[in-house]
């Protein structure tokens, strides 16, 4: 520390360098921020986006037990390709309020024939069942991920979260947060068309 060196001294080169350090750090950070802002404009940097590692890659392998009493088969990675058409994978939980908000959209998509596959995330089976009995069950298949294990492989931010998987089992789209009418109209429908 400068204060411990008594008396006046001509600035040593090392001290000069030390005094320049803050400027260097700030400049490097500034360049980084600049690149981020540029990337926001071009779409190459997106803090809300999908892990680029997963987009365009096959969905991670998994096999989940069924939800007892829901009268739906269990869910495994192989089922994503079995439908022969794009499917939606929706992570939900009975304790999550936005899941209730998005539920009507899932019901609507399911009625239109879009296969919606559900993962009950960190939810007691009885609670998940009650949730579906109250709000309706849009899911063709249902897996229970009580410990939240597969959520780590998928890189889940939280619930609700929805993925679009194409016929070949490749992840094409991710939506973190409730699926709204606008999301369906502006993003999901065009994607369903291109991958149909």
């Amino acid at each position: 520390m400068s204060a411990t060196t008594p008396g006046a001294r001509p600035a040593a080169p090392r001290r000069r360098l030390l005094l320049l350090a803050p400027l260097g750090v700030a400049a490097a950070a500034g360049a980084g921020f600049f690149a981020m802002l540029r990337g926001l404009g071009t779409g190459s940097y997106d803090p809300k986006g999908v892990p680029s590692a997963l987009l365009g890659k096959p969905a991670p392998d998994f096999a989940l037990p069924p939800l007892e009493g829901a009268d739906r088969p269990a869910l495994a990675a192989a089922d994503l390709r079995a439908a022969g058409r794009p499917v939606l994978v929706n992570f939900f939980a009975s304790w999550c309020v936005p899941c209730v908000i998005e539920h009507p959209q899932l019901m609507k998509l399911s009625r239109e024939g879009v296969p919606v596959l559900g993962v009950a995330y960190k939810d007691k089976p009885a609670d998940a069942l009650g949730f579906l009995q109250k709000h309706g069950n849009p899911y063709q298949r249902l897996g229970v991920d009580l410990p939240g294990r597969i959520a780590i492989d998928w890189g889940l931010y939280g619930v609700p979260e929805t993925y679009l998987i194409d016929r070949g089992g490749i992840i094409r789209w991710r939506w973190a947060g409730p699926v709204t009418e606008e999301t369906v109209a502006q993003q999901l429908r065009p994607l369903l068309k291109t991958h149909a």
């Binding site: 400068s2 204060a3 008594p6 001290r15 803050p22 500034g30 802002l37 940097y45 009650g130």
Partner: protein, 655 residues
């Protein structure tokens, strides 16, 4: 008409602040007394213009003028008056106006009360402040005009985000901005000192109260925000290490270091370069927070609706103010010569240690906050750095900080010896150690809370020992009262602020023992948590001013005796179609009983119940810390900013 006046006033303030920059910098450079004397009236002019503009914006909100886009997007006629007013700063454009208004207030204060400063220093400080307000006024006018008209006007506004309609949050931004902007003043002093190439005790005397005031407001602002998150978001947590929270913590840490190192400059004329650096950093961190929150480079529950074009402009401002400040620092700081010499073990030494530890904590928080963004940018990896990292990385730095903050105040300046310090503090150390061992003995595996209780006991008793020693309570108890009255308020303030941190740590440690339970209850059913029985009495509909709600009424019984009746709401705001939870909190001296209503099913409701021991002490402690800051500020020596002798030494600047 009124919005146009507001818009015009902003433009006028822009022009006036430019004039203030020129007269201040040029006048001081050429030592032209007439030019320099124009800066203070110009600062008053900027203040009047910005205040008029802010007044116009508040007016537009209060009368719900739906021809103003900003009002339409953020307000609604059915909103209570308080939230109409607080809605003014609940959005990006309006909050920038508040930011500039507070900056203008600070400029006005320096102009009005800075007569005893060397006139060149005052002119330069005012010029730098004007440069900051010029930058932000230009930003508002170019990209974020709050007075933008909308035609044809819609019948009514779209409403304010309901979770922001809360008394706590109404005052959270103004307090926070008072803190952020207060550091603009210390920044201006630092830049002025770099231009002049001189820092002396008089400078330290001026910087310290500003740092202290900014820090106190920031303490209150952060505490209020954390309290709001605790009772409004309904997660039962008080601090989430969210990037936006960290963005407010960073200037707080830097400011905390600054106000301590400014003491050394003032009393001992040492640590000058370092203090100037901290003053630059504290404001730099404030600006960085502004950038992170408003540019869209990160995701956070708190972030404003943002847009990259705005981000570019803020980044440009950052480059000018932080880059410019650091460039000036690299160029000029070598000229600052320390005169005070001290041994490692001394008051100065302990303050250096305090600074190193606070800055290390700030560095950890900064890295943890920025790392995910840079990992995404450079490595295309999505990483989230969460509470486990921050808790793990800050704890080893917080422990020595807590140890040192007990010792610091009892050490003499220049050179200290270990034995006299131990003599004063042995019983505080013994108390801390005793509490730690006792807690470990009672609940062995929970080291965190035990460490917290021990640390809190140490800090509280050390603060007590410090005061007891100063008033000679033990050696000459009869004269103690008279000495207590004569003790400078700054000494009281320091001890109170330290004790406040102790109280806060008590609360944090208590929260480490918190328990919760999720239960589905039908009316009449009950569940038990931490010895208290919660019985759901009933569920009903309630109508509020701009919301409807389902309300759960719950009776709490302790061993059959009725403790209280609590009502937790799930509110539905019709205008914005949002649902919020209103946690019911029963606060006692020793704990918070905290109740959140979840969804309803099978004729019952899911209730989340938290038992939070000592939780209220977290915010109570923060309030005590801010009170300590205020107490220090009220010290007579702070108001008499620099004694004449010190001024005479800096004589050339006044010529």
């Amino acid at each position: 008409m009124i919005p146009e006046i507001g818009h015009f006033a902003l433009a006028l303030a822009l022009a006036l602040s430019l004039a203030q920059v020129v007269t201040g910098l040029w006048g001081a450079h050429r030592a032209e007394a007439r030019l320099m004397s124009a800066t203070a009236p110009l600062a008053a002019g900027v203040l009047i213009a910005v205040a008029a503009s802010a007044g116009c914006l508040v007016w537009a909100y209060v009368v719900n003028d739906t021809t103003v886009l900003n009002v339409v997007q953020n307000s609604h006629s059915a909103k209570p008056l308080l939230y109409k007013i607080s809605g003014t700063w609940g959005n990006h454009e309006g909050s920038m106006v508040l930011w500039v208004l507070i900056l203008a207030l600070c400029g006005g204060a320096v102009a009005a009360f800075g007569n005893n400063l060397p006139s060149a220093l005052q002119a330069r400080v005012l010029a730098i402040l004007a440069l900051v307000s010029f930058g932000f006024l230009a930003f508002i006018l170019a990209t974020s005009n709050p007075f933008q008209r909308m035609w044809p006007p819609p019948p009514d506004g779209q409403g304010l985000n309901p979770i922001l309609q809360d008394p706590g949050l109404a005052f959270h931004p103004p307090l926070l901005y008072l803190g952020y902007v207060g550091f603009a003043v210390t920044y201006a002093f630092a830049v002025a000192a770099l231009i002049e190439g001189r820092v002396d005790a008089a400078w330290g005397r001026w910087v310290r109260p500003w740092a202290l005031a900014a820090w106190s407001f920031l303490t209150l602002g952060i505490a209020l925000g954390s309290w709001w998150a605790y009772y409004e978001l309904g997660w039962g947590g008080y601090w989430f290490w969210d990037p936006v929270e960290n963005a407010s913590l960073l200037p707080w840490l830097a400011g905390c270091a600054l106000l301590h190192s400014a003491i050394v400059v003032e009393k001992r004329e040492a640590l000058k370069t370092w203090t100037v650096f901290l003053a630059l950093v504290a404001f730099g961190m404030s600006l960085l927070g502004t950038f992170l929150v408003r540019s869209g480079v990160l995701t956070s529950v708190h972030a404003f609706a943002n847009d990259p074009a705005r981000g570019m402009v803020i980044l440009g401002l950052l480059a000018v103010f932080i880059g410019g400040g650091f460039a000036l620092f690299a160029w000029r700081a070598a000229a600052m010569v320390p005169t005070g010499v001290f041994a490692p073990l001394s008051r100065e030494g302990s303050l250096v240690l305090n600074n190193l530890l606070l800055c290390s904590i700030a560095a950890v928080v900064l890295v943890g906050t920025l790392y995910p963004m840079f990992a995404d940018l450079l490595l295309s990896e999505k990483i989230s750095v969460g509470p486990p990292f921050f808790n793990l990385a800050t704890l080893p730095l917080a422990v020595p900080l807590v140890l040192a903050m007990g010792f610091g105040p009892v050490l003499p300046w220049k050179r200290a010896r270990v034995f006299p310090a131990l003599q004063r503090l042995w019983w505080a150390a013994l108390a801390g150690l005793g509490v730690l061992l006792l807690c470990l003995a009672i609940a062995g595996e929970r080291i965190g809370p035990a460490l917290g209780f021990g640390a809190a006991a140490w800090i509280l008793f050390a603060a007590l020992a410090d005061i007891a020693d100063r008033i000679a309570l033990l050696s000459r108890p009869r004269a103690a009262w008279a000495r207590a009255k004569g003790l400078p308020r700054a000494a009281w303030g320091g001890a109170v602020a330290h004790a406040g941190l102790g109280v806060m740590i008590l609360g944090l440690a208590g929260m480490g023992l918190a328990t919760d339970r999720l239960a589905l209850l039908k009316p009449g059913e009950s569940t038990t948590l931490a010895g208290i029985e919660y019985r759901l009495v009933g569920l009903r509909d309630v109508q509020g001013p701009n919301w409807t709600a389902r309300r759960a009424t719950v009776e709490l019984r302790d061993a059959g005796r009725l403790v209280t009746t609590m009502e937790a709401d799930k509110r539905n705001f019709a205008v914005s179609r949002m649902t919020t939870t209103e946690a019911a909190i029963h606060t006692t001296l020793l704990r918070d009983l905290y109740l959140v209503m979840g969804e309803e099913r099978e004729g019952g409701a899911v209730l989340r119940i938290h038992d939070n021991p000592l939780a209220p002490w977290i915010w109570f402690g923060a309030a005590i810390m801010a009170l300590g800051g205020g107490l220090s500020l009220s010290d007579r020596r702070m108001r008499v900013s620099a004694p004449a002798a010190k001024l005479a030494r800096g004589g050339e600047a006044r010529a």
